[in-house]
């Protein structure tokens, strides 16, 4: 039996071809206005610009590291724009596109990689949990949060992001079980970008990842992860289903990590340029641009304005990043615990005295 793992198979939901042709899917219809289409394209362009700017800033030494989202913009914008107020997203460390959709200041995201913060935003305010770096840890947390929504009788859902590598983690598989048996309102959004640093998908699975869902007792869908419309349609439907009490679902967004794993990685050691080139033809931005053009939904002024907005955004990131204040050592001590803690207070006092000693030494 042929087991498709490395190519988009027939069951992959697609609403916009790489050539920019709109196609219908009876299971996942999408009603989207012209304004929404333009807004989606704007999201894609600006997320890519943030990513490119952050990569450049890392090369200039302004960031310690950056995890590029290049190539996965459609998956993240499609999912991110399907979330509504009151929903909660649980990201990995690469969900810059979802962060954008949830209204998180990109500068806050860059702060994580500069080392000015380990958090940087209010999860409650944005409906967007903190970045999680340990692979898969956020999945059971999302299920717990969804169980809380269920207790509260809230008509909302949680959406948790993870990758093909994480699909091997115990916590991810456990979270499938929990979501299933508690019928929790959570949507698992797996971006299968084909690579877990240097390990190919074949090292994680022998069946298409979305097919695993059925074994856990809920539906799984594979979607063209480079098609923002398909990602939006499938995410909307699965989220709505969860909000209405029909339980969890797994979405596998079939995509490709066009960049390195992070700026510390060298993908030329483990994958072929020809593969990357093949995926470049499936670019998530170009197909929308092409569609907007062909449908005459935009004019040159639209693109000129967007270019301008994009450059302004990059400029504000460059300036803002360099102006980010270093965190305070006092806050480190203050935030270790919610309530007073004798050991931390003593160490804080001792360290303050130690630092004060330099002030006296350096006094004129």
């Amino acid at each position: 039996m042929a087991i498709p793992t490395h190519a988009v198979d027939d069951t992959c939901v697609q609403l916009l071809t790489p050539e920019g042709e709109r196609v219908a899917n009876a299971d996942f219809p999408l009603d989207v206005s012209d304004d929404e289409l333009r807004a989606l394209y704007r999201d894609l362009v600006l997320v890519r610009r943030v990513d490119a700017e952050a990569t450049a800033l890392q090369r200039q030494g302004e960031l310690g590291l950056w995890a590029q989202v290049l190539g996965q913009e459609a998956a993240q914008v499609g999912a991110g724009r399907a979330l509504v107020s009151g929903d909660m997203a649980f990201p990995t460390y690469r969900e810059h596109g979802v962060a954008w959709c949830r209204g998180v200041d990109p500068l806050a995201v860059l702060g994580l990689f500069r080392g000015t913060t380990n958090g940087g935003w209010s999860p409650e305010e944005h409906g967007f949990a903190h970045y999680t770096i340990v692979i898969g840890d956020q999945c059971p947390q999302a299920v717990g949060y969804a169980m809380g929504m269920q207790h509260d009788a809230a008509e909302n859902a949680a959406m948790v992001f993870f990758g093909d590598g994480a699909s091997s983690q115990g916590d991810v598989n456990e979270s499938f079980i929990w979501a299933s048996v508690f019928n929790a309102p959570v949507v698992f959004f797996c971006q299968n970008n084909q690579w877990a640093i240097s390990e190919p998908l074949e090292r994680q699975t022998r069946i298409p990842l979305f097919q695993r869902a059925w074994g856990f007792g809920f539906p799984g869908v594979r979607v063209d992860g480079n098609d923002v419309l398909a990602c939006l349609a499938v995410s909307r439907q699965m989220l709505q289903r969860a909000r209405e009490g029909a339980g969890p679902a797994l979405i596998e967004a079939f995509t490709y990590r066009m960049g390195a794993h992070t700026t510390s990685d060298d993908p030329t050691r483990y994958r072929l340029d020809t593969d990357v080139e093949a995926w470049r033809l499936r670019d998530p931005l170009e197909r929308v641009r092409s569609f907007l053009h062909k449908q005459q939904l935009v004019d040159d002024a639209f693109f000129a304005e967007l270019d301008d907005e994009s450059e302004q955004l990059a400029l504000s990131l460059r300036d803002g990043l360099r102006a980010l204040p270093d965190p305070s050592i006092d806050d480190l001590f203050a935030n270790a615990y919610a309530e007073p803690h004798s050991l931390v207070e003593r160490q804080h006092d001792e360290f303050a005295r130690y630092l004060a000693g330099f002030a006296i030494e350096n006094a004129p």
Partner: protein, 326 residues
């Protein structure tokens, strides 16, 4: 309102009070519902508070903690039970990498009022992984608080204080003392804050510091030593993180000698921290080095050998004698 309660029952009563007090308090764990837990600590709670608040979970410790973190983010106050000490390592990543760090990570925006309860320690003839003392791992982890009662009265109050805390608390239950009985006033307020140690027996010659299951052993040792004319002061730490060093140091300044006893391996165990702190603070008052009594640097033995591994009255008194003879 005074009742004679075992420690297990006292914790049960404490959990009941917490569930009554705050509708956001939830219990989660394996077999805690209909069965009432393998030690019956949650007996009857699901019947009275329902399956939505006393939740039998899948057999997945890591997700018990992960789900508790998510529930806490949602505004709940989860109390999770890990069935045995040796099973908590399965959830170690969620505890150490997520639960303990969330408040600091979020710059104080996200609170984690999660209580992790589990039985610990040996002495009941159990199979492997059911007699361990992992407290040092948790005490070493910034962001966690660690408390352990030695008697039913403290158990009743400490478990409620742990649940009421806005920080994550590891609540360690000394399993071989689950059946110890005491008079518990279930209407009373706690006598001490959660982070306080207590002098449980006054003495003048040596300070014997312990916690959890070993406190009773130390009290028995002190009673036996009294017959030989040795006056031992026993300090029950109650809180392992943070440590109430003031109570320990005040005692050692009076006695000039200190012995620390616990079941866990002494190497980098709680006694190492107590010994270092006492040495720093009481260097000139000490008549002898701080001595430690505890488990060996071996895996916990098959139960037919555990009487050698667990410090008993004689091993404690041997250390007291060495301290006095120094």
């Amino acid at each position: 309102m005074t009742e004679t309660l075992t420690m297990g029952r006292a914790i049960n009563q404490g959990l009941r009070c917490a569930l009554e007090r705050d509708p956001k308090t939830l219990l989660m764990g394996e077999d805690i519902g209909r069965l009432g837990g393998v030690f019956r600590v949650t007996d009857g709670l699901q019947k009275d508070f329902g399956e939505q608040r006393v939740i039998d979970t899948p057999l997945a410790e890591s997700s018990i903690l992960g789900a508790a973190i998510g529930l806490a983010m949602r505004g709940y106050r989860p109390v999770v039970e890990i069935q045995f000490d040796g099973l908590v390592y399965v959830a170690f990543d969620q505890i150490v990498s997520q639960l303990a760090k969330m408040h600091a990570r979020s710059a104080g925006r996200v609170r984690m009022p999660v209580t992790v309860r589990h039985p610990y320690g040996g002495g009941i003839g159990a199979v492997e992984h059911h007699s361990e003392s992992p407290e040092a791992y948790f005490a070493h982890t910034a962001g966690l608080r660690v408390v352990t009662p030695s008697n039913p009265v403290d158990a009743f109050h400490l478990v409620q204080q742990a649940i009421a805390s806005d920080d994550p608390v590891v609540f360690l239950e000394p399993k071989r003392r689950y059946w110890d009985k005491a008079e518990v006033d279930v209407g009373s307020a706690p006598g001490l804050p959660m982070g306080s140690a207590r002098v449980v027996r006054s003495g003048t010659d040596v300070t014997l510091v312990s916690y959890g299951p070993m406190v009773r052993t130390c009290l028995e040792a002190a009673a036996a030593a009294e017959g030989d004319g040795t006056s031992i002061e026993v300090v029950d730490l109650r809180s392992l993180a943070p440590l109430d060093l003031k109570t320990v140091i005040d005692s050692v300044r009076r006695t000039g000698r200190c012995v620390v006893a616990h079941e866990a391996s002494v190497f980098l165990g709680m006694s190492a921290e107590v010994a270092a702190s006492v040495t720093e603070e009481c260097f000139y008052e000490l008549e002898s080095p701080v001595l430690r009594v505890g488990g060996f640097h071996t895996p916990y033995p098959p139960s037919r050998l555990e009487h050698h591994y667990l410090p008993d009255l004689d091993r404690v008194l041997d250390a007291v004698d060495r301290s006095l003879a120094y």
